[in-house]
């Protein structure tokens, strides 16, 4: 036997784990319709949980901000001001609780707690709840750091122009905080897409759950888990490309404003953006 044949045999041996790994199964299940459904469910669950978690995190971060004020007319403003410290306490408690316990445990508890209140909840809703609540605790800290990175002078300038706390936050501080929030947010979404696999334990048929079912049915776990890996890698890689684009878009410090052509023209690639030069009106 010539050495090339020997090397080739060796490579085949490694890649089929001595004949125990059947690549045809991988090929067969890679684009199976149930698997694809699982991928879609994973993506959907990840996106809505991340969005909801971010919103929860935003509110928690605002509650913890020492400058936080609720705009209300007298006499309600005094009442609400008195309610702020329990709100802050609640935020601290919430973050401590959801960062301090494992996501898997939270998932199982949430899934099992509803029957006690004579309510039924399906796996998807339970998974969505658990993932969002958990994510809220982490996003709170991330958003707090983002808000803290914005110079305090910005809020002061906005206030001195007559903006309320809410207006100043929405128009001035949060847009600037977003630039700092994007990298850790990207990280969190990456984790979120993978954490959805935990929902398999509460019998949700997302990607990992589906793969597990097939693996049990055909006694070919290794090949099917490989299929799952391929899909998870695809999702996370696509997201990392999106994240890089987002970071680039928010990091370039513009010098002059460009007038963009309308969105449909940008899509078909018609016009170039033009420099917004001031019109001479005098």
């Amino acid at each position: 036997m010539n050495p090339f044949q020997q090397i080739w045999d060796f490579i085949v041996y490694i890649f089929t784990l001595g004949g125990n790994f059947d690549w045809s199964i991988v090929g067969h299940y890679l684009f199976n319709s149930f698997i694809l459904k699982g991928v879609w469910l994973t993506l959907l669950l990840a996106v809505i949980s991340q969005v909801t978690g971010s919103i929860i995190g935003l509110f928690l971060a605002l509650f913890k901000d020492p400058r936080f004020v609720v705009t209300a007319s007298p006499p309600f403003d005094r009442i609400i001001k008195g309610l702020l410290w329990p709100l802050r306490l609640f935020a601290d408690f919430y973050i401590w609780l959801f960062r301090g316990t494992p996501l898997l445990v939270q998932l199982i508890i949430i899934y099992n707690v509803f029957p006690f209140f004579h309510l039924t909840v399906d796996s998807f809703t339970a998974a969505f709840l658990a993932l969002s609540l958990n994510e809220g605790a982490y996003m709170a800290e991330i958003i707090r750091a983002g808000i803290g990175s914005v110079d305090t002078g910005q809020m002061e300038a906005a206030k001195s122009l007559g903006m309320t706390y809410g207006q100043a936050m929405r128009r001035i501080v949060l847009p600037q905080a977003f630039r700092v929030i994007i990298p850790p947010l990207g990280n969190e979404f990456n984790s979120m897409m993978k954490n959805t696999s935990l929902a398999a334990v509460i019998s949700l048929l997302e990607l990992f759950g589906t793969v597990e079912q097939f693996a049990a049915a055909i006694f070919a776990s290794l090949e099917l888990f490989f299929v799952a890996c391929v899909w998870y890698l695809l999702l996370t890689t696509l997201w990392s490309l999106v994240q890089r684009q987002l970071e680039r878009r928010f990091n370039t410090s513009k010098q002059v404003k460009w007038i963009q052509p309308p969105w449909w023209q940008r899509l078909i690639g018609g016009r170039r953006p033009a420099l917004a030069l001031p019109q001479s009106n005098q």
Binding site: G153, K159, S160, G162, R171, P175, V256, Q282
Partner: protein, 312 residues
């Protein structure tokens, strides 16, 4: 304007003056401001200040501080500061660092809370209101914002909004706070930026502007709200010396047009030329006050003399 009732500090009285709540301020009110003011013309000589900003409750001082006390933790920063600023007066506050002059300025528009005394701007209590029974409590966010909208402030570090162009910086507050339609606000913003000499930089972002240009945009931004009082917190201290002049020029123009100004600065030349009164503060209290000639040429107090010796 003759029958102006003495201004109350209670906030349940309906307000019939220009300081009416924003919901009463119709779209046309701001537009009328522009139509009536000389700015409606394209005259280069037209003023920065709209006349409407100047006519308020005549006879009532613009700023009245009564025995203001302020602490930061356990350190007392303002120890009983009392002063009055008349309408159209230009006050310059000088003093060593740590004297409380910047803190006092920030108390005027309630960027800092006070622990004692009162501050009234155009007859209205700032940041606080009187409840039934005479108790003074902190005012609601909305009322404070309303008061602040009538007071313009220019900061040492400019504090321009970096994610907005110069034009957008200037129209941000009028459109969002006063709910002026964007076209009107843009028109006014173009005029103001032209008056401060930045007509060709309206679409530049702050990071493309020099310090002096940024500060001039900040002044235009404050003026876009038609304030009746302008506060300057060491507006030129963070600028390179050659850029200081252009900002002082705008401040001087503002002063000439009759804006009430309270300026904290180290620019003694500016104080000498522009101030109606100079106030020297040290360690949280007013040491001496008077016309610039008196203070600079004949300082009475020992501390004033030693401070001026160091500066001049």
């Amino acid at each position: 304007m003759e029958d102006v009732p003495f201004p109350h500090t209670s906030s349940d009285e309906p307000d019939h003056t220009r300081d009416a709540p924003f919901s009463d301020r119709s779209e046309t009110a701001y537009a009328d401001t522009i139509r009536q003011s000389p700015l409606a013309t394209t005259d280069q000589e037209a003023p920065l200040v709209s006349p409407e900003a100047i006519e308020q409750h005549p006879g009532v001082p613009m700023v009245q501080a009564e025995d203001v006390h302020k602490r930061f933790g356990s350190t007392e920063v303002l120890r009983g500061v009392s002063m009055t600023v008349q309408r159209g007066e230009k006050i310059v506050i000088i003093g060593p660092s740590g004297s409380g002059k910047t803190t006092f300025l920030r108390c005027i528009n309630h960027l800092e809370k006070i622990q004692g005394g009162r501050i009234l701007v155009d007859g209205q209590l700032v940041g606080y209101r009187e409840e039934k029974g005479g108790k003074i409590v902190e005012d609601s966010e909305r009322n404070i914002a309303r008061m602040r909208a009538q007071i313009g402030m220019v900061f040492q570090r400019f504090n321009l909004f970096p994610h907005l162009t110069a034009l957008e910086n200037v129209i941000e507050a009028p459109t969002k706070v006063l709910r002026v339609p964007k076209a009107r606000a843009s028109e006014r913003a173009h005029e103001l930026l032209g008056k401060v000499g930045l007509a060709d930089k309206v679409n530049n972002y702050p990071n493309a502007l020099s310090g002096g240009q940024q500060q001039r945009v900040a002044i235009a931004r404050a003026l876009a709200m038609n304030p009746k009082l302008m506060l300057f917190d060491e507006a030129t201290s963070a600028l390179d010396p050659e850029l200081v002049g252009e900002v002082l020029k705008v401040m001087r123009q503002l002063a000439e047009e009759g804006m009430t100004m309270v300026v904290v600065t180290h620019e003694m030349g500016f104080a000498r030329e522009v101030a109606d009164r100079v106030i020297f503060m040290d360690q949280g209290s007013i040491v001496e006050a008077g016309p610039p000639n008196d203070i600079f040429n004949n300082p009475g107090h020992e501390r004033t003399q030693s401070f001026l010796r160091m500066i001049l």
